[in-house]
């Protein structure tokens, strides 16, 4: 099979990316980058004997690309904070509605928790496969799943995220 084999996976990849990024056009860009990378690295993919495993491989390529994006965003956000100080209107957590619907709540999760929740619940991957996609031990998948589910429950009950937020960069003048 050549990279065209990825074609049948596109609809699911699009849905996954959309839930991951929360934005339709960003999601399609991510899928496109994933497919281009898959073509580029095609010779590195080792199919299992029954030809399966392509979806997992595509998901792991997407995970790496997404991780890079998130890192870049963190840098951008820090740059914005440096420019604009601690203006409260730029705090995405400030206006947390009392109750969130599931999609909004999902967006409030940290990327690492959101990925695990989506891989297990929506993509229905076995835990071991989710661990492979993310390149972490199964134990990490289980603890992230547990935290992700509890945070979602909390958010939908009207609570703030349970996680202790990472401290934002302070400006030292």
């Amino acid at each position: 099979m050549g990279p065209e084999g990825a074609l049948t996976h596109i609809p699911r990849l699009r849905r996954y990316a959309r839930l991951l990024t929360g934005d339709a056009s960003r999601a399609d860009d991510l899928v496109q980058d994933t497919l281009e990378r898959a073509c580029h690295k095609w010779s590195l993919w080792r199919p299992r004997e029954d030809g399966s495993g392509l979806r997992g491989w595509l998901l792991s390529l997407m995970h790496n690309l997404y991780l890079n994006q998130v890192r870049d965003q963190v840098h951008e956000r820090q740059a914005v904070e440096l420019d604009e100080g601690n203006e409260p209107s730029h705090d995405p957590f400030l206006h947390t509605p009392e109750r969130l619907d599931l999609e909004q709540a999902l967006r409030q999760l940290s990327p690492a928790l959101r990925e695990v929740v989506l891989l297990v619940c929506v993509e229905e991957l076995p835990y071991a496969e989710a661990a492979q996609v993310l390149g972490v031990p199964v134990g990490t998948v289980m603890s992230r799943l547990s935290r992700g589910r509890e945070q979602l429950r909390h958010l939908m009950d009207g609570g703030a995220p349970v996680q202790t937020r990472t401290h934002r960069l302070k400006i030292v003048k």
Binding site: E4, G5, L19, V31, M142, R149
Partner: protein, 261 residues
């Protein structure tokens, strides 16, 4: 936890219970335990609701046609023209030197050319689609007979996928001769606005080393053909439709053929 000593049910086991990833023998054990622990049961119930809720999010995307840019991204970029020229002349040199040009060109699924059945499918499409009164030999009203008959002639169980969801009704089908006289099946579908599409099914010779399913496009004139190989069968879906639309139909066909029974 063991089936005999169920007391400490772990968090991980509760998750596995929700996700259907618990070993079957532990499922009733955890279920019983949950009956006695209402707090945990409420938590688990919320997880289950979340799981179902998440699965329902953005479901519509699954039925959307694949954007062309994404379908194209699955094809490796072409190498530069001068490089292609170089490769071609090298191949030609090697070919003449090694008698390569004497080999038959119609090797099934040879990397460069398209398989022979695609050509057959295109011809069948062009010949029968414009036919007004005799587009099919056996009509959809005799669907069971049609499928049985074609299965018997091709020597393998076939299915006539249903595309009503996609707006295409099955008209019926016919038996056709292949390039070497082998039996082929053709199913025809119609949409009042978009016209007709055909699904051509071929049994490939055993030595064709069937690859896992991979979709490929071919376009000749107005007709797009979307073809793939599954097991020993070659499928070609042809239509005079936008490629995205045809890809969506092919996806629906492919999915139905994957379903057992």
């Amino acid at each position: 936890m063991t089936p005999d000593n169920p007391t400490p049910v772990t968090d991980a086991e509760l998750h596995a219970w929700v996700d259907g990833q618990l070993l079957p023998e532990f499922v009733p054990v955890v279920s019983d335990w949950l009956l006695q622990h209402p707090d945990a049961a409420a938590r688990v119930q919320a997880w289950q609701a979340q799981r179902l809720g998440l699965q329902a999010l953005q479901r519509g995307v699954l039925d959307e046609p694949v954007p062309l840019a994404l379908a194209r991204a699955t094809r490796p970029r072409r190498s530069r023209p001068w490089l292609q020229g170089l490769v071609a002349s090298l191949m030609l040199g090697l070919g003449f030197a090694g008698g390569w040009w004497l080999r038959p060109v119609d090797t099934p699924l040879a990397g460069a050319g398209e398989p022979g059945f695609v050509q057959e499918a295109r011809v069948a499409h062009a010949v029968y689609v414009p036919e007004k009164r005799h587009a099919v030999e056996v009509g959809a009203q005799e669907q069971a007979h049609l499928v049985q008959w074609l299965s018997r002639r091709l020597g393998t169980p076939l299915k006539a996928p249903l595309l009503e969801d996609q707006g295409f009704g099955l008209m019926g089908g016919r038996l056709l001769p292949g390039q070497a006289g082998e039996p082929r099946a053709l199913f025809m579908y119609e949409n009042p606005a978009a016209g007709r599409i055909t699904l051509h099914v071929s049994v490939l010779p055993g030595d064709a080393a069937p690859a896992p399913a991979a979709f490929r496009f071919a376009r000749v004139g107005q007709t797009d053909t979307f073809y793939w190989v599954e097991g020993s069968l070659g499928y070609a879906l042809s239509g005079d439709l936008p490629r995205e639309r045809l890809a969506q139909l092919a996806e629906a066909v492919y999915r139905q053929l994957q379903q057992p029974g």
